[in-house]
C-alpha cells in the first residue's frame, strides 16, 4: 500500500483549502453555478436528485482498515449510514450536504484520501485488477505503475480541461480483470525479446453512448517512456478532440475519425519532442514507489487442499462459497477472498457504516489490515491464510458478506439508476432485485454457472451493460420506463460489445425474460459451456425466438 510522504500529504491538504474557499465563494454568490460546476465535479461532487453525490477516490481499489473506518465514519456523520462501491472502484455517498463537503474532505485527508478528479472532464481515477499483487497469473504487479500514473494525473496543469472525461486502466496479469479494452487508455505489461519491460498501449475504448473496444497503437512502449507517452496522447487529444458536441468528445471518437494508425503517428510526432525529456521515468522512482507494494510478511505455509476438502464435505455451504468466493493465491497456504456485496434485496455495491467497520476489523484480523474494492462492486481480502478460511467464512456469514455468488448471475453490476441519478431513464436497482429474487435458488444458480449480468439506467452506461453477457439498459418510451436487453458482451480479454435482442420490455416482465434466456442456454449448452460460450456458438436467434414467441 502506498504511503504518502510530506509532499503527497501537502498536495491533498492544499486541495482541501482550495475547495473550502471555492465552496465558500459559491455559497456567498461570488461564483456562479456555471463557474462552480466544473470545480465541484473535479472534486467528485455531482448534484443529484435528492442531494449532492460525493465520489471519493479509492486509487486502483486499495484501502487500509484505517481508511475504511474513516469511510464508515463519514457514512455515519454526514450521510444516511451507508456508502456505495462504484464500478470504477471508488466509494460514493448519496446524501451529503454541500456545506459539509469541505469538512468531509478534511477528514479524508487525515487518512491520505481525497476526491480529486473523480468526475468532470479530466484525468480520472486509475483502475486495475482487484487481485493485483496476489494473482497466480500475474506478469508484473500493476500497482506501482498505477501509483506513478496517479501522481502524474493529479492536477496535471495541461490536461485539467479536456474535451471529456478520461479513464486509464492498467492490467498486470495474463487474464484481464481490469477491462482495459474499454478504457480511454489501457496498459498492460509485456517483455521484449531482450527481456526488458514495456507496455502495450491501447487507446479509444469506452462505453457510454457509443461503445467502442479500443485499438492497440503501440505493442512495446519502454517503461521509461510511460509518462511521456501519456503526455503525448493527452496532448493530441486535448488539442484535437471534439469540443462542439459532448457526445462526440471522448477520445474514442477522435481515434475513430483519424483511424488508430494516424492517431498513433500524431502521438509519435509528439514523442519525437518529448522522448528523453525530464519526464522519462527513472529506476529510482519506480523503486521508491514499488517498495510500498512489496509482499506483506507472509508465513511459510503449505497448501491445505485435503483439509479444506474435508471441511467441504462437512459443510456444503462452505464448499459452495469456496468455489465461488475464493481465488488461488501466488503464495502457498494463502487464498484471496471476495466479500459479496450482492445479497438479494440490497442495492448492489451498497454497504452500511457498521458493515464498513466490520470489514475493516476482518481485514485487520485476517488480511494484514488491507482490502480492495473491485469494479464488480465487491470487496476483497487478498491475503487470507487457508487455515483461517473456515473461521473467516463463519464471520462473513454473520456480517452478510458470504453470499456465494461471485461471478454468477446474481452478482449483478448495477448503476444507481432512477432511484438516485438525475440522468436516468429508468430505475435499475429494483430490476436487479427482482432478478435476484427469481434466481434465489442456489442449486439453480450454481447450475447456470458463470454469467455477467450488468444493468445501466441510461445510455451513459455506468453499469457497463454493453459488456455484460446479458446487458440491461433502461430506456424511456413515451415517459414510461422500459428495458432493452443485449447479449454477448464481455469485458475480459478480446472484449466484445453486446448485441441488442429486440424491442424493450416493461419492468415486471424482466425476470421472465431473463429466465427464458437462461432456459435456452440450459437446453442448448454442451458440458463445460458457459452462457457466453453457448451464445457465441449458437448466436442470438434461438434466444430471440424464445423471448418473443407469442404467448399461448
Amino acid at each position: 500500500m502506498y504511503v504518502y510522504d510530506e509532499y503527497d500529504q501537502r498536495i491533498i491538504e492544499d486541495r482541501v483549502k482550495q475547495f473550502r474557499d471555492q465552496t465558500r465563494r459559491y455559497l456567498a454568490g461570488e461564483l456562479s453555478e456555471e463557474e462552480f460546476r466544473p470545480l465541484r465535479l473535479q472534486n467528485g461532487l455531482y448534484i443529484q436528485r435528492f442531494a449532492p453525490m460525493l465520489r471519493v477516490a479509492v486509487p486502483y481499489g486499495q484501502l487500509t482498515s484505517r481508511q475504511t473506518r474513516m469511510l464508515a465514519k463519514i457514512a455515519r456523520d454526514y450521510d444516511k449510514g451507508y456508502a456505495h462501491i462504484s464500478t470504477r472502484q471508488n466509494v460514493q455517498y448519496n446524501w451529503p450536504a454541500l456545506e459539509d463537503i469541505p469538512e468531509i474532505l478534511a477528514e479524508l485527508a487525515t487518512v491520505q484520501m481525497h476526491a480529486i478528479q473523480t468526475s468532470g472532464n479530466c484525468l480520472r481515477n486509475v483502475t486495475t485488477d482487484q487481485f493485483a499483487g496476489v494473482a497466480a497469473d500475474e506478469v508484473i504487479d500493476p500497482r506501482p505503475w498505477c501509483e506513478i500514473v496517479r501522481q502524474w494525473t493529479t492536477f496535471h496543469p495541461e490536461f485539467a480541461y479536456l474535451p471529456r472525461k478520461f479513464k486509464i486502466a492498467i492490467n498486470g496479469a495474463s487474464s484481464d480483470r481490469a477491462a482495459i479494452e474499454v478504457h480511454d487508455i489501457g496498459l498492460e505489461p509485456v517483455h521484449n525479446a531482450a527481456g526488458e519491460l514495456g507496455f502495450r498501449v491501447l487507446v479509444g475504448g469506452g462505453l457510454g453512448r457509443t461503445p467502442v473496444v479500443g485499438a492497440f497503437i503501440n505493442e512495446f512502449l519502454p517503461w521509461q517512456d510511460l509518462l511521456s507517452y501519456l503526455d503525448a496522447i493527452l496532448r493530441v487529444y486535448n488539442r484535437y478532440g471534439r469540443r462542439d458536441n459532448k457526445y462526440k468528445a471522448r477520445i474514442k471518437i477522435l481515434v475513430k475519425a483519424l483511424t488508430p494508425d494516424v492517431f498513433a503517428e500524431k502521438v509519435e510526432a509528439e514523442m519525437a519532442h518529448l522522448r528523453g525529456g525530464s519526464t522519462t521515468l527513472t529506476e529510482a522512482e519506480v523503486h521508491r514507489v514499488a517498495k510500498h507494494f512489496v509482499d506483506p510478511e507472509y508465513l511459510a505455509l503449505s497448501n491445505l487442499d485435503s483439509e479444506l476438502d474435508a471441511l467441504n464435505n462437512e459443510h456444503p455451504g462452505f464448499a459452495r462459497w469456496r468455489t465461488r468466493n475464493t481465488l488461488a493465491h501466488k503464495k502457498p497456504g494463502y487464498v484471496a477472498v471476495t466479500l459479496s456485496l450482492k445479497p438479494t434485496g440490497v442495492a448492489p455495491g451498497d454497504l452500511t457504516d457498521k458493515q464498513l467497520d466490520a470489514v475493516a476489523d476482518l481485514a485487520e484480523r485476517y488480511s494484514f489490515g488491507q482490502l480492495r474494492t473491485s469494479h464488480e462492486q465487491n470487496i476483497i481480502l487478498a491475503d487470507v491464510e487457508q487455515r483461517q478460511l473456515h473461521a473467516l467464512w463463519l464471520e462473513l456469514r454473520e456480517g452478510g458478506f458470504a453470499t456465494p455468488n461471485i461471478g454468477l448471475l446474481t452478482d449483478i453490476i448495477c448503476c444507481p439508476g432512477g432511484d438516485f441519478c438525475s440522468l436516468a431513464n429508468a430505475k435499475s436497482i429494483p430490476i436487479a432485485e427482482s432478478i435476484q429474487r427469481r434466481f434465489d435458488n442456489l442449486d439453480y444458480l450454481f447450475d447456470i454457472g458463470e454469467l455477467d449480468l450488468n444493468i445501466s439506467g441510461c445510455m451513459n452506461a455506468c453499469g457497463h451493460h454493453h459488456v455484460g453477457h446479458i446487458g440491461i439498459l433502461g430506456v424511456d418510451k413515451k415517459g414510461e420506463e422500459f428495458y432493452q436487453v443485449s447479449l454477448g458482451g464481455s469485458a475480459s480479454r478480446d472484449a466484445s460489445l453486446g448485441k441488442i435482442l429486440g424491442p424493450s420490455f416493461a419492468q415486471d416482465a424482466m425476470p421472465d425474460v431473463i429466465e427464458k434466456l437462461i432456459n435456452v442456454y440450459v437446453e442448448k449448452r454442451t458440458e463445460d459451456e458457459r452462457f457466453i460460450d453457448t451464445y457465441q456458438r449458437i448466436g442470438i436467434d434461438p434466444f430471440k425466438e424464445r423471448v418473443y414467441a407469442a404467448n399461448h
Binding site: 509532499y7 471555492q22 501522481q151 492536477f155
Partner: protein, 164 residues
C-alpha cells in the same frame, strides 16, 4: 482601464487587443497592438515595419505551430479562452514556451477566472487578463493554490520524482 496580472503584480493595461475583423488601415504607427493571427498572416511585413509594440493572439482552435518559428517577432502572445473549460490553449502555451522557446509575455485572455490561474501559470502564462467582472486582487491569491506539484511543466522543468 483594464488591469492585468503580470509577473504576480497588477498593472494597468497598455496594449490594444484588436478584434478578428480588424484591418491594417485601422492601426496607428506607434501604439502597442495585439493583433489577431489572421492579420499577421496577411501583413507580417507591414506589422514588423511599425514603430509600436507588436503582439499576436491565437484563438483556441488556432495552432502554435503556425507561429512557431516567428515567435521572436512578438513582445506578447495572447491565447484566448472562449470559455474557461476550453483547455486547448494550455497545450499551445506549453508548445510556445517549451518547444518554440518564446521568452516574451504570454498572456491568457477571454474567460479567465482565478480558479484556473494556477494551472495556467504552470503552462507558462505570466500574464492574465482577468474577466472584467472579477477582481484581479482576489485572483492573485490563487497563484498560490498549491505548494507542491507532481509533473514537469513550463514553470518547473523537473517532475517531483526528480526532486523528492
Amino acid at each position: 482601464m483594464q488591469r492585468i496580472i503580470k509577473n504576480n503584480q497588477i498593472v494597468d493595461e497598455t496594449w490594444h487587443l484588436l478584434p478578428k475583423d480588424v484591418t491594417l488601415e485601422q492601426l496607428s504607427n506607434c501604439d502597442d497592438y495585439i493583433v489577431p493571427l489572421q492579420l499577421w498572416r496577411e501583413h507580417a511585413h507591414a506589422l514588423k515595419a511599425r514603430d509600436g509594440g507588436l503582439g499576436v493572439w491565437l484563438d483556441s482552435d488556432e495552432e502554435a505551430e503556425e507561429i512557431g518559428d516567428q515567435v521572436g517577432n512578438f513582445q506578447v502572445i495572447a491565447l484566448n479562452f472562449p470559455a474557461f473549460t476550453d483547455g486547448r490553449n494550455y497545450s499551445n502555451a506549453r508548445l510556445l514556451r517549451d518547444r518554440y522557446q518564446f521568452k516574451g509575455e504570454l498572456r491568457a485572455i477571454g474567460d479567465i477566472l482565478r480558479d484556473q490561474l494556477f494551472y495556467l501559470a504552470r503552462c507558462g502564462f505570466d500574464a492574465f487578463a482577468i474577466r472584467a467582472d472579477k477582481d484581479p486582487e482576489e485572483a492573485l491569491q490563487s497563484l498560490q493554490d498549491f505548494s507542491v506539484t507532481y509533473q514537469a511543466a513550463t514553470d518547473e522543468p523537473l517532475p517531483l520524482f526528480r526532486r523528492r
